[in-house]
Symmetry: C2
Subunit: 139 residues, 2 copies
Amino acid sequence: MMSLRKTILSNFLEDIWNRGLEDKLSEYLAPEYVIHHDPGDPWHGKTLDIDGFRQRLLVSRAPFPDQRFDIQDMLEDGDKIAISWLWQATHVGELAGIPATGRVIHMSGLTIYSFSGDRLSGHWQMVDRLGVFQQLSAS
Amino acid sequence: MMSLRKTILSNFLEDIWNRGLEDKLSEYLAPEYVIHHDPGDPWHGKTLDIDGFRQRLLVSRAPFPDQRFDIQDMLEDGDKIAISWLWQATHVGELAGIPATGRVIHMSGLTIYSFSGDRLSGHWQMVDRLGVFQQLSAS
């Protein structure tokens, strides 16, 4: 059976990132959420409150509204959970100067999430941004 | 105190990747080592025996002989350990068609290692290859 925190993280990815249910952010997030490390993310190194995270969610999902994270593995140890994931989405809006291509883009990555009680309080992440760029710019 | 497997993984990174002690590979590796996922690595998706891993080690370390992994976090759950890491190395040999620049390159990433008993049997990894490429090609 999945631990409570693994269940919370799995629901967070489904509700927030896959479905974009921004009204549920206050159920999942601690008052301060720290993006410890996330190269390429405009919020790398920043501390966000719930409204700041909502802004990040809206901007990040805008080019990829049908995006889907599929968790491959979850490892829980102390106050943290590491996940490996695959992601796919249709590119329907401008991203980093590249207009919508209509292509289905695939990405993968790993994230370590930190918890404060039963709320998410930050992450350390690496995504395959070179792979995404290659798919968007391929002729 | 660190668990046995966390200690083994920490020693593996130090002995094998930081110091290049290829003669110690047989102490750390299971007979088959599976590179489940590692975009950009020439051995992505392959299963290696110890000689195959030695070849990967030699080729990978050649442009960066003073390379150093510094573990940031370790999470152990079941038969797996996830780590986040920083890496730095001086670029002294050809890499993907780019001749030695003499630059000190910084990289970061996350890896989930699988164990079989006290031996490493594979990994799922994401490294910031775009960041490396940008540092190597900057004018």
